[in-house]
Amino acid sequence: MYVAVKGGEAAIANAHRLLASRRRGDATVPGLTLEQIAGQLSLAVDRVMGEGSLYDPELAALAIKQARGDLIEAVFLLRAYRTTLPRFGHSEPVDTGEMLVERRISAVYKDLPGGQLLGPTFDYTHRLLDPELAGDPPLDAPETAADTGERVIRVSDILGDEGLIEDDPATDISRPVADITRTPMEFPMERDARLQTLARGDEGFLLALAYSTQRGYARSHPFAGEIRIGEVDVEVMIPELGFAIVIGRVKLTECQMVNQFKGSAKAPPQFTRGYGLVFGQAERKAMAMSLCDRALRASELGEDITAPAQDEEFVLSHCDNVQSTGFVEHLKLPHYVDFQAELDLVRRMRAEHFAKAADDAATDVAKEAAE
């Protein structure tokens, strides 16, 4: 247990002053601007927005700068900031089918309406460091091609036929939407609360769990049905006006994972689906989220719960990196009183242990002598 201590004010003030100086680094090198961070480290900004659960690229860039590039610390800063703001309300559900698509790929259909659009991807790069980037070499402008105007239809909307793939859950408009920022977690959780928790979950943790399902711990035979990245309009109902308006756009990554399912007492053999939706360009996170979402549907689909990725209390209680870091890192705060008490206890136990050993030895010697 942590016990409050006094003192150390001067040391703390000096440590923070030192931190500010170390954060800035060599003062002869120009300081980073938020535009540079948001523009050139944009995937770090996206990750901080997603796990910080606050879409605001400028604030996320500031958090990264202040945290010296420690992304979990930056997430923490963003989460702390959001608690100071009032909640105006909620958006209408975004329509990812109307996304201004920047990338869309499917691993299940070669030819699909709208095509396979690679967009700005690391895929098919050779992962060789480029020494030229040590400078600021001039770049060719992106190649352009005529836009066919073809609608980029979601794979889930194509696959619906024949009942081979499960439908989206039926919509009940009157049902309140779960919000883990307002209501403490309670298990078992509904899928809306699970998805909200996963959307802000730590990418590394979810990635590892997703990988575990591929290696056989709750194998779910997944295919990347579709991944799409792009901007969607955010519509909000304005009570004074009596109608919804678009207040801006956000970039999202959506992943539809399609999973072979042999059927159970609850559902016939079909393809089931896991879903991922994350702020910004965050493909790995969206894929991991969709695999975890599918694994966590085990009881809904009548599957045996045998693996960590299927255990919702395990996954959802530990995927938040702000909570995790808070509890792990609190161990470095002063525990002096606590430790003193433990020291006394261990000394006493050791004294009893050795006294008993000496006693037993004496008894044995006495026994042997008697024999």
Partner: protein, 164 residues
């Protein structure tokens, strides 16, 4: 933009003279437009009404909703920063604005333009000199992105197997 599915409030519709769809489009275009483009267009009009702040400007959060599986039950993806403001201009019209982000000046300008556009004396000018060009600018930016994306489209070929 989609939004036709929302319930109309008859009082609100009556209050702006039945121009609900127009106002919805206008506020949406202004919210999506880059702040510097909006300010440049505004300055060119030379309009300068007296403005009284009725509420805000205030920054806060909007909970962003998605749908399970893309089209199922709604769920919360996270929150988006937003700024809202309500103004009254000298001629008495009230304007509202809500934009994503924390740009207080932009939000206020959107609300002022919303108020002015309800005055028939200014409506045409605002449409011609502010809303229409901004909407075109947004469409051009989208078209540029679509063109760049289209160049990365994979074209598959079926390989001839050389059996005949």
């Amino acid at each position: 933009m989609t939004g036709a599915g929302h319930q109309r409030d008859p009082r609100a519709a009556a209050a702006d003279g039945g121009g609900m769809a127009g106002r919805q489009r206008r506020l949406s275009v202004l919210a999506k437009a880059p702040a510097e483009d909006l300010l440049a267009r505004w300055k060119q009009t030379g309009l300068d009404p007296s403005v009284e702040l009725l509420r805000g400007p205030e920054s806060g959060l909007v909970a962003l909703r998605g749908r399970i599986g893309g089209s199922g039950q709604p769920f919360h993806v996270g929150e988006v920063s937003a700024t809202r403001v309500t103004v009254r201009i000298g001629s008495g019209e009230v304007g509202h604005a809500m934009i994503s982000g924390r740009d207080v000046c932009k939000a206020q300008l959107v609300a002022v333009i919303d108020a002015l556009a309800q005055d028939p004396a200014h409506a045409e000018m605002i449409e011609r000199d502010i809303v229409a060009p901004l909407e075109q600018g947004l469409a051009e930016a989208d078209a540029k992105l679509r063109g760049e994306t289209a160049a990365t489209r994979v074209n598959f070929f079926t390989m001839v197997r050389g059996e005949d």
